[in-house]
Amino acid sequence: MAESSAPGGYPIPITVEFTGGLELLFGNERKHKVVLPARLENGSSPNISFLLGYLVDNLMQDERKDMFIMEDSVRPGVLVLINDADWELEGEDAYELQAGDTIVFVSTLHGG
């Protein structure tokens, strides 16, 4: 019902979290509420790949983009978790975001 009631559908509210030091690139804030458009200009639904670009353009406060993104994906050593599961279990960057999703970006730690 909801899809048919609004042209392009309703915006998609999600929660984005950064941990393992990545929060330092995002104003030292761990948890962010983000609202994504239901439809992109090309008519597709926003997926993780879109989210990565969106975060770099809108949320990242650090100029060192390569501390987060390398070769159009997250840099090595960063895990992406979609609702508490490794994104590789959910279709990686092609996963289409749903309202209420929690996406966590974890930088692996090495200290001991």
């Binding site: 393992g20 840099r75 050593g77 895990l79 508490d84 490794d86 692996t108 200290g111 001991g112």
Partner: protein, 536 residues
């Protein structure tokens, strides 16, 4: 008369002895019959559970069972008089004193000391006698005896892991002591392994401690790890993490890996179950989760980034717990003669539990502080654990795998020309006489610990995120009212790296005036000029 009565008394005594002996004979026959019945039941039970009662000490347990029957109260209940031979010689029944005497060797599966020491975990279903015996026969290797390895080793030794190997090439420093709980003020300067052995011996001398007083290398890793059943990665760098994971996959050892930094920690059980490379039912390895190493400049140590002691302590304790779970439940068996650890199944032909890998995230200042996430299974093209694996025992031992090159190294930053830098001794002669802006780009918490007179704090972490113009505006704002200091800037930081970046950025942004940095940072200041400068 006298003689006759003496003979009569003798006859009566003999009759009494015969009656008593016949009673003993009946008791013995009852005991024998009951012992045989119990032996049969124990045997049948053993068959039913297939290994529920280890063969090697069934005999001792049966002996103990038959002794219980000999107690006098039990015989009374059965209506048979509990008579004791009055004459001298060998007692026909074991006296109660024998039953309660200190356990002789082999009589019970554990020693008197072990029952007392491990009693609190022995009475738990999750450990129990079988779990304790498995812990006792287990050989566990702790690689790295620092913030993770110290608490992990302490709990493993406390729990009665039979053999505990410790690997580390470092010596104890005073800055270790807020978190590395096996070391003490008295062992500063001593090898960490020896310091740990000293403590662990005092904690539990029943544990066989094996020191390995050097860092693990590709050449030594396989030989050292092969004689253990499970490995804990308590190291602090990607190079060792990839090496340990590769070696554990090649040798079929489960690996419990943890890490910590600042206020956060991460824990994974890897290669669990430890199947051979190419077997998709095995648990993922470190390379499955992180196929590519992180950029070297993103790797931050506890010395650089800081660490809250209990945070790394929690992670080390969790590693010990995960290892105890793996061993006590019998999920993996002891290393066989080939050095491989095989899985042990409690029932014949039962399929082992499939891998359900997870990553535990701990964030001490978040709510909730723990989060467990599902990880991927083995990667089908993994360089280490897949059918296409390129990492072999030969490539490890020959040294052809260069883990340092694989992970990259950060060479000391050197981006400024010599005339753009000033040494600590030279600066000590200038800093009072020559007017200048002194810019300290350390974090505010560093600045609060110690700063040079007149220094302005502008953290590099803020500068780096900003465009050059915004940085210039910041410096202008911070130096308002201090025009007498002129336009020349000297930048200082902790070690002399961020200060170079700040100098370069200020120059690029077009700062009007000379900009230099203090070579070697405030560490050089302490070493060359002011020995009382706080060393943190």
């Amino acid at each position: 008369m006298y003689q006759t009565s003496e003979i009569d008394a003798n006859i009566a005594r003999l009759r009494q002895q015969i009656a008593g002996t016949e009673a003993h004979l009946r008791q013995l026959k009852v005991q024998l019959s009951r012992a045989e019945q119990q032996a049969k039941e124990a045997h049948d039970l053993g068959q039913t559970y297939d290994g529920g009662h280890p063969v090697e000490w069934q005999a001792e347990t049966l002996a103990a069972l038959s002794q219980k029957i000999g107690s006098s109260s039990r015989l009374h209940e059965d209506g048979i008089p509990a008579t004791t031979p009055q004459h001298s010689g060998e007692p026909l029944l074991l006296s109660s004193g024998d039953v309660s005497s200190p356990s002789s060797k082999g009589r019970w599966p554990l020693s008197t000391e072990e029952y007392r020491r491990y009693g609190r975990q022995l009475i738990l279903h999750e450990v129990g006698l079988q779990g304790q015996l498995r812990l006792k026969s287990a050989k566990v290797l702790v690689v790295g005896v620092g913030g993770l390895g110290c608490p992990a080793a302490a709990y493993l030794a406390g729990a009665g892991v039979g053999t505990l190997g410790l690997v580390d090439g470092d010596t104890v420093e005073v800055s270790n002591l807020h978190r590395q709980i096996l070391h003490s003020t008295n062992t500063i300067g001593i090898g960490k392994v020896d310091s740990a052995v000293d403590y662990l011996n005092g904690l539990n001398s029943l544990v066989n401690l094996i020191p390995h007083r050097a860092h693990l290398t590709p050449q030594t890793a396989l030989e050292i790890i092969s004689s253990y059943d499970a490995v804990l990665d308590c190291t602090d760098h990607p190079t060792s993490r990839y090496l340990i994971s590769d070696a554990c996959v090649l040798l079929g050892k489960p690996l419990v890996s943890a890490s910590a930094l600042r206020t956060e920690g991460q824990l994974m059980a890897l290669n669990m179950p430890p199947k051979p490379p190419g077997d998709a039912s095995g648990g993922p390895c470190y390379r499955c989760v992180f196929p590519k190493p992180p950029p070297a400049e993103s790797v931050v140590s506890c010395g650089e980034g800081g660490i809250v002691g209990p945070v790394v302590g929690v992670m080390g304790v969790l590693q010990a717990l995960e290892t105890i779970k793996i061993i006590a439940t019998g999920t993996v068996d002891r290393a066989d003669s080939n050095g491989k650890t095989s899985e042990m199944h409690s029932k014949a032909n039962e399929a082992p539990a499939p891998a359900s890998p997870s990553l535990l995230l701990f964030s001490a200042f978040s709510s909730p502080p723990f989060r467990s996430v599902r990880l991927r299974l083995r990667r089908t093209n993994c360089a280490s654990c897949s059918a296409q694996a390129t990492i072999t025992e030969a490539s490890l031992t020959s040294g052809s795998l260069d883990y340092v090159a694989f992970c990259g190294v950060t060479s000391p930053l050197d981006i400024l020309a010599p005339h753009e830098r000033i040494g600590a001794s030279e600066y000590s002669k200038l800093y009072r006489s020559s007017p200048h802006i002194l810019l300290d780009v350390r974090e505010p918490v560093h600045f609060e610990l110690s700063s040079l007179p007149g220094a302005i704090n502008l953290p590099w972490s803020e500068c780096v995120a900003k465009p050059g113009e915004a940085l210039l505006q910041d410096v202008e704002r911070l130096t308002q009212g201090r025009e007498d200091e002129g336009r020349d800037v000297l930048v200082v930081c902790r070690l002399g790296n961020d200060s170079q970046l700040a100098v370069a950025k200020l120059k690029q942004a077009g700062w009007q005036g000379a900009v230099k940095d203090l070579r070697g940072g405030l560490r050089a200041w302490r070493q060359e000029v002011d020995p009382d400068w706080p060393d943190y």
